[in-house]
């Protein structure tokens, strides 16, 4: 027993290989799906053979981002709220040979970071951006987000949300991202597959992940603290693309589609700039 007590604590093999064990357990609340998404990301990273030496994690501010900060064994860049796409532009334009995985949230990406997000998609910056959509501002205690449903009660909309949410995937598609998908945190296989595709594809890969926030969304909007019930609420609202084909517009009215929406690999700003440099060298 004494010998066992002196052993280093047991860690999951993925944690050992890709994360900093001293930063575990991470900050997420019980039942928060962020850990599941990180798990899928590590699966994708492992399957593609990426390493902490050639991959940089960039995150913003909020639950989504605080968790991943200084968790990745490699370089971990935590930017100001909403600015990850701007920081990633500087990083990728200067060191295009490295892989960049960005973690952002619905507030970080859709609200304060909206402008940078749109232009990163327009530039088709060659990074993977995983956006955690829990429909609320979690870290600051439950304020309304640009993805919170109409009528929802939050700390800043105690009489009900009077603003409509919008669809980030449609914005990414319109702005020009190469790859756009949406899954739930519990859709492990398709989510891991999307992250792998996102890493491999040229251009910006935007992957929105729907996940339960029992602590804030559950408590304020759904009046429950049970993550299972919040997950069920999400499950009742999602519809796969395939299933949606056979549903009427009325049936689809309050539903959220999940699946791969856009896959159109095309060169982005990094490639354009590299060929510009090459052209000038030849002159």
């Amino acid at each position: 027993m004494t010998a066992m007590a002196k052993e280093t604590p047991l860690v999951h093999p993925l944690v050992n290989q890709y994360l900093r064990p001293e930063r575990m357990p991470h900050l997420a609340c019980p039942g928060c799906g962020i850990g599941q998404v990180v798990h899928c990301t590590l699966n994708a990273v492992a399957e593609l053979g990426l390493t902490p030496l050639n991959t940089v994690w960039v995150q913003g501010v909020g639950c989504s981002s605080r968790l991943s900060y200084a968790l990745w064994k490699g370089d971990s860049i935590d930017a100001h709220h909403g600015r990850i796409f701007a920081v990633a532009t500087g990083l990728k334009m200067c060191r295009p040979e490295l892989n960049y995985i960005l973690f952002t949230g619905d507030g970080d990406c859709a609200s304060i970071g909206g402008n940078h997000f749109i232009h990163a998609c327009r530039r088709n910056l060659d990074v993977v951006a995983i956006m955690f959509n829990n429909g609320i501002y979690g870290m600051t205690g439950g304020q309304v987000a640009p993805t919170t449903p109409l009528g929802a009660s939050t700390t800043t909309t105690p009489h009900g949300n009077f603003e409509a949410p919008f669809d980030l995937c449609k914005v990414a598609e319109a702005a020009g991202a190469s790859y756009v998908a949406r899954w739930r945190a519990i859709d492990f296989k398709p989510l891991t597959h999307s992250i792998k595709k996102g890493i491999r594809i040229k251009g910006l890969a935007f992957i929105e992940v729907l996940l339960p926030c029992a602590t804030n969304f559950g408590r304020y909007v759904l009046k429950t603290g049970d993550p299972g019930k919040v997950q069920k609420w999400i499950n009742d609202r999602v519809v796969t693309l395939k299933k949606a084909e056979s549903m009427s517009p009325e049936e689809l009215k309050d539903k959220v589609l999940i699946g791969e929406f856009v896959e159109r690999e095309r060169p982005g700003v990094v490639e354009s700039y590299q060929s510009l440099l090459k052209r000038l060298k030849e002159v």
Binding site: L53, G74, H116
Partner: protein, 385 residues
């Protein structure tokens, strides 16, 4: 440095700044169009790709400074430039650079304000903005201010060197007059230009401490970039020496002291002023940037009329040269500070540094045009009575 455009030219200050950046080794620029700084971006948009660098027009001022921070983390010497409200926006991102000890340069071509003001005209309203405008305090700042096109070139290189030595963002506090005036510029051969390169760690990653918080005055400290195996942790939150977030008072205190003291405990390396006619002066005129040359002309006119007037110009304006000002204040009866603002900015620093040894007066103006030498000379006469 490859790409340095050696020769003699007749150019605007903005162009001198662009060429200074290239000569210093800057290979990343990001900006947003704003008068009177956009010539810097336009020239770098032409020159940077030709020498293998990156020049981006970002979607806004915030994206510019944040991408410059990113480029710095990627190991590049990086710069952004703006004016007026653009600088106000950049102050948000500046905090990130200060806290994480990222070396880069921010150019402020001051223009008449507040708000949009007169975009195409000079003022000196950002003296305190650059020093104290980034919320949170707990830091010192380095800012240099040129009076001429040649100095705009020379001081830009100096800004990049100081950024590397002190591992922090450094301001070039310029103004529309210097930025848009055309004058002779001599760019020497690269071998004659002193450049400080980014220092890399000499120890393996397990032994390297990214933020030397235990030593609040160490400078010339290495900064590895991403992809070099040092697993750097850069964050807006208060962090430990390793870069891990912390909410402990002891870590906040250590970090705050380091960010302030690494500059303030090395003030002896950051004092640079121009002094003229001070040996027997009874009156002194202290001015910087666009106000400096009219002030010197007024001082020389006074001397021509038999008045014992001296002149001092801070070249490194932050940290403020307290000791130099005090030694002037001890000798003279009063000090006049002509500035292109009405709220009195550098004059307050002069008054503070003078410690009551001399009266300190402000000759203010909202800007648009610099003071005329006769205005300053007239004020000296009026005050002498």
């Amino acid at each position: 440095m490859k790409g340095t455009k050696t020769g003699t030219f007749f150019v605007q200050g903005d162009e001198a700044i662009a060429e200074g950046a290239i000569a210093a080794g800057c290979r990343y620029f990001a900006g947003y169009p704003i008068t009177p700084a956009q010539e810097i971006a336009e020239i770098l948009a032409q020159r940077m790709p030709e020498i293998g660098g990156v020049c981006m027009q970002m979607e806004d001022e915030l994206a510019s400074i944040h991408s410059v921070g990113g480029a710095s983390c990627a190991g590049f010497k990086a710069m952004t430039a703006s004016s007026g409200p653009g600088i106000s926006l950049k102050l948000e991102g500046l905090g990130w650079g200060i806290k994480n000890e990222l070396p880069y340069v921010v150019v402020d071509i001051q223009r008449a304000g507040p708000s949009n003001g007169v975009a195409t005209s000079v003022a000196q309203g950002d003296f305190y903005t650059v020093r104290y405008g980034s919320a949170g305090g707990n830091h010192a700042l380095i800012a240099l201010s040129p009076k001429s096109v040649q100095e705009a070139f020379d001081l830009t290189i100096e800004c990049f060197n100081l950024a590397e030595i002190f591992r922090c963002p450094v301001f070039l506090l310029c103004d529309e007059t210097v930025g848009h005036t055309r004058e002779k510029l001599v760019i020497p051969d690269p071998s004659k230009i002193k450049i400080v390169e980014r220092k890399k760690p000499a120890v393996p990653p397990e032994q390297f401490v990214l933020y030397p918080l235990d030593d609040d005055s160490v400078i010339n400290y290495p900064f590895p970039s991403v992809g070099e195996g040092y697993s750097i942790c850069v964050s807006p939150y208060t962090h430990t020496s390793k870069g891990y977030p912390s909410t402990e008072k002891v870590d906040q205190d250590k970090m705050a002291r380091r960010l302030t003291n690494k500059i303030m405990k090395n003030v002896d390396k950051l004092t640079r002023v121009e002094k003229k006619y001070l040996e027997d002066a009874e009156v002194a005129v202290i001015a910087y940037g666009a106000s400096a040359r009219p002030a010197l002309a007024a001082v020389e006119k006074a001397r021509g009329n038999g008045m014992k007037v001296g002149f001092l110009r801070p070249i490194i304006v932050w940290p403020f040269p307290d000791e130099e000002i005090y030694s002037v204040a001890e000798r003279v009866n009063f000090i006049l500070v002509p500035e292109l603002n009405t709220d009195g900015q550098m004059v307050r620093e002069v008054a503070r540094a003078a410690k009551g040894k001399a009266e300190v007066y402000h000759l203010g103006s909202g800007g648009v045009e610099t003071h005329l030498p006769d205005e300053i000379w007239g004020e000296i006469r009026r005050l002498k009575k």
